[in-house]
């Protein structure tokens, strides 16, 4: 029987692929192919380069070398599950799937398998409630924080009030893009603006009708939850209907160089919320040059260094490395397990002094994770694209999300999840 021999063959192959452990294993569920690859590649490269740097410069974390297990998901949930199952048995310390869809699949699984899941600024927002979600972390910010921060910035632009204004959300028609809708609805009620949604179906190559609607509805602001090719198409379309770019604000996943460059100088003025700083003006990039790039060890083609999403991958790796260090400190062993890693993440604290020590001064806000709060500070700033200098300029201070709006929503949604799955509160 054909299938049995096939199964037997791959059985042998998998068993021979298992390495002798004693390293710190960081799985990397990346997507370098498919409609989302333009965004998946830089972030995977940034993540890999940071860990290579730690290996090359410091000899790993606490003397333990890091091993990266890369697995291609193509942003597809079935492949994501396959990747998770094939890597979890190899001592994988923490997962970050970079896909809200895969996150939803993994939340119950990681909890059962006792492996932490870090969805940095994506995934299920209500996982910020550590009382319910023991193994899921989404610091330093959530979509609902982002929605609130963007709204605050719009208020600043309008001089303090959004009453009677109209705000449109152009979103990827998936769990990811729908996530902020509820928050915007609450905010609309609170601040008295009108809120409309314009969904864009996967993969988002065709948006003529969406932007026709924008022309018809004439919103005062457009905000976008886009990913992959959808981003560049939206920015091009906005430019072609001459929508004022400084009133078009993307979430932090719609802010890569590759998203704005195709629209040329018409994209100048486009704004996006940022989780962290951009560019290569940080101490650590000198080390990166010395230990990784000049040695030819850079991941991928090595042409994304300093891009927004490259830096995001960098930050992702930095946070996880710090969490691993923290776990090593708590448990007094350098060879940590996923369960120890979870403890390390739950008590992770990074202040500006520590960021500077890491060579990333002024890179990101303070991180302070507690048992109750897995969502982090929930602050971000607004950056604006300038085609002339090919740079993102920071145009606002750190803006904090409106906790009085976001927190009740998190409590309500996580309570619903707890009720559905019979979870009792922790941290009491």
């Amino acid at each position: 029987m054909k299938k049995v021999t096939l199964a037997a063959m791959s059985a042998i192959m998998i068993s021979s692929a298992v390495p002798a452990a004693a390293e710190l294993v960081f799985p990397l569920l990346s997507y370098r192919t498919g409609a989302y690859a333009p965004n998946g590649i830089p972030i995977a490269d940034g993540f890999t380069d940071y860990l290579t740097l730690i290996n090359e410069r410091d000899g790993g974390i606490g003397g333990e070398k890091i091993k990266i297990l890369e697995c291609e998901t193509a942003y597809n949930t079935e492949k994501g599950v396959e990747c998770y199952e094939s890597t979890k048995g190899e001592g994988s310390l923490v997962y970050w799937p970079l896909s809200t869809g895969i996150t939803y699949q993994l939340i119950p699984k990681v909890t059962a398998d006792n492996i932490p899941l870090h969805t940095m600024g994506y995934g299920r927002t209500s996982a910020a409630n550590g009382k319910i979600f023991s193994h899921v972390f989404n610091f330093p910010g959530t979509y609902w924080d982002a929605a609130s921060i963007i709204t605050k910035h719009m208020m600043d632009v309008e001089g303090g009030s959004l009453k009677g204004k109209k705000i449109a959300l152009v979103h990827h028609n998936s769990a990811y893009g729908k996530e902020p809708i509820r928050t915007f609805e609450v905010l609309a009620e609170k601040h008295g603006f009108e809120f409309i949604t314009l969904p864009v179906d996967h993969p988002g190559q065709e948006q003529k009708s969406t932007w026709l609607q924008v022309r018809k509805e004439k919103p005062d602001f457009v905000t976008m939850w886009g990913w992959g090719v959808m981003n560049q198409v939206a920015i091009k379309e906005a430019a072609s209907i001459r929508f004022p770019m400084d009133r078009f604000i993307g979430v932090w996943w719609s802010s890569n160089e590759g998203d704005v460059l195709p629209a040329g100088d018409k994209a100048s003025g486009y704004k996006a919320i940022a989780l962290h700083n951009t560019g290569t003006d940080f101490e650590i990039y000198k080390d990166l040059d010395k230990h990784v790039i000049s040695k030819g060890l850079a991941a991928g083609a090595g042409d994304h260094v300093g891009e927004v999403l490259y830096n995001r991958g960098f930050m992702q790796a930095a946070l996880l490395v710090e969490a691993a260090r923290n776990a090593q400190k708590i448990h007094g062993t350098s060879n940590i397990t996923p369960a120890m890693m979870r403890d390390g993440m739950e008590s992770l604290k990074i202040d500006q002094a520590r960021w500077a020590e890491m060579g990333l001064a002024n890179y990101a806000p303070d991180i302070n994770v507690t048992c109750e709060n897995h969502g982090g500070p929930g602050i971000g700033f607004i950056q604006q694209w300038d085609y002339g200098t090919k740079k993102w300029n920071i145009v606002s201070d750190f803006i904090a999300a409106d906790r009085s709006v976001v927190d009740p929503l998190i409590v309500a949604d996580s309570a619903a999840y707890a009720a559905e799955n019979n979870i009792s509160e922790r941290c009491n």
């Binding site: 029987m1 054909k2 299938k3 049995v4 096939l6 199964a7 063959m9 791959s10 059985a11 192959m13 998998i14 021979s16 692929a17 990346s30 370098r32 192919t33 690859a37 590649i41 890369e70 697995c71 291609e72 193509a74 597809n76 949930t77 079935e78 599950v81 396959e82 199952e85 094939s86 979890k88 048995g89 809200t100 869809g101 939803y104 699949q105 939340i107 119950p108 699984k109 909890t111 059962a112 398998d113 299920r124 927002t125 028609n173 998936s174 769990a175 990811y176 729908k178 996530e179 809708i181 509820r182 179906d201 996967h202 949604d413 619903a416 559905e420 799955n421 019979n422």
Partner: protein, 358 residues
């Protein structure tokens, strides 16, 4: 040598009508069923369950379903993804609305609901044929996915439209959710495949199946010899959708545990299942299963080989995998346009005569 019927005499009509007329086939079949049902469950782990067996079983059920409609009754359908979504969302609604309900009933309920929806979309098949019907079922695909994305009741008003399967059991054994044991979900899905493949195999040999094939081969002639096209076509749609609904229910609740309509049930799903039956063999049970294995297992196999053994970069491995599978599809379709099942059949014919073919 061993594969021949010499000396095996059939003395009753029943024996003559058997699915496996040659003893060797019968023994091999039951032996493999024994291994799959009673040996593998002792060894199966999370990886094999979630990445190999569950997708294989579930897509086999879907492929059998589509083969009933397309392979046996000749009605091309591109609505498989949408019908799987109906099964998935029905099982979600049943699981959350009636928490105590047994998973068996939930899955069969999903199948029945999908059968009803499938019949509704099958009505146009009485008037339109061939490619035009394919376009009509394509409308079903897009409409159903849109519906489950739009109609908040179907996903219990969750903020994201994502549905997540709660923990449920079958006769006290947990089969959904993260705490289900690999052997439990494995056997649960296998039981569905075995029972319903058995049923389908016997359906197509009987009165209904013959009326489907009559319609497929020439519908006007079939009508003249007394086959009621309304009954034949709608029953094919109903039964086919029933299978696809079961596959959709298992796909969401047992295998993935979470789904969103646009990604999990997109048009790609419809094409995948259609390719399974074209490559495996239209109008063949074993073809559905071989086709599912081809489309589901080969990517995993290539990935493990290229990345795990040869250590290729993941993106190059992914592209090569797509190229390899595409070339294999072309190769098999050139070698045998009627699918791998036909190749298998020819092989068996040759074996019977070996070593003295004429």
């Amino acid at each position: 040598m061993i594969y021949r019927e010499a000396g095996q005499f059939k003395v009753s009509y029943q024996e003559d009508q058997e699915t496996f007329p040659i003893r060797f086939d019968k023994v091999a079949f039951w032996l493999s069923i024994f291994i799959v049902a009673a040996v593998i469950p002792f060894f199966v782990n999370d990886y094999w369950e979630k990445s190999v067996f569950l997708p294989f079983f579930i897509y086999s059920i879907a492929a059998i379903g589509l083969n009933i409609l397309t392979g046996y009754c000749g009605q091309v359908s591109l609505g498989t993804g949408g019908f799987m979504a109906v099964g998935a969302y029905t099982s979600y609604k049943l699981m959350t609305s009636f928490p105590g309900l047994d998973m068996f009933i939930v899955i069969v309920g999903s199948g029945l609901m999908t059968a009803a929806v499938g019949m509704l979309f099958g009505i146009p098949s009485l008037r339109i044929k061939g490619f035009y019907l394919a376009v009509a079922t394509l409308a079903a695909q897009f409409f159903l996915v849109w519906l489950f994305n739009k109609w908040e009741w179907t996903y219990n008003y969750s903020a994201t439209g994502q549905i997540t399967a709660p923990q449920r059991d079958f006769l006290g054994i947990v089969v959904t959710g993260a705490y289900s044991k690999p052997w439990a979900t494995y056997l649960f899905c296998f039981a569905f495949l075995f029972v319903f493949a058995w049923l389908a195999r016997n359906l197509v040999r009987g009165h209904i199946g013959r009326s489907w094939m009559a319609i497929r081969d020439m519908d006007i002639a079939a009508e003249i010899i007394g086959v009621n096209p309304l009954k034949a076509k709608l029953s094919a749609f109903a039964i086919s959708s029933f299978y696809i609904g079961i596959a959709g229910g298992l796909y969401f609740s047992v295998w993935l545990g979470a789904a969103e309509p646009t990604e999990a049930f997109s048009i790609d799903k419809s094409f995948d299942v259609l390719f399974m039956i074209i490559i495996g063999g239209l109008g063949s049970m074993i073809g559905s299963i071989i086709g599912a294995a081809f489309i589901v297992l080969l990517p995993v196999f290539f990935k493990t080989t290229l990345v795990g053994i040869l250590g290729w970069p993941t993106d190059i491995a992914e592209f090569s995998q797509i190229i390899l599978i595409g070339s294999l599809i072309i190769f098999f379709l050139i070698k045998e346009p009627h699918g791998i099942a036909a190749l298998w059949r020819t092989l068996k014919e040759k074996l019977r005569l070996w070593p003295f073919p004429y």
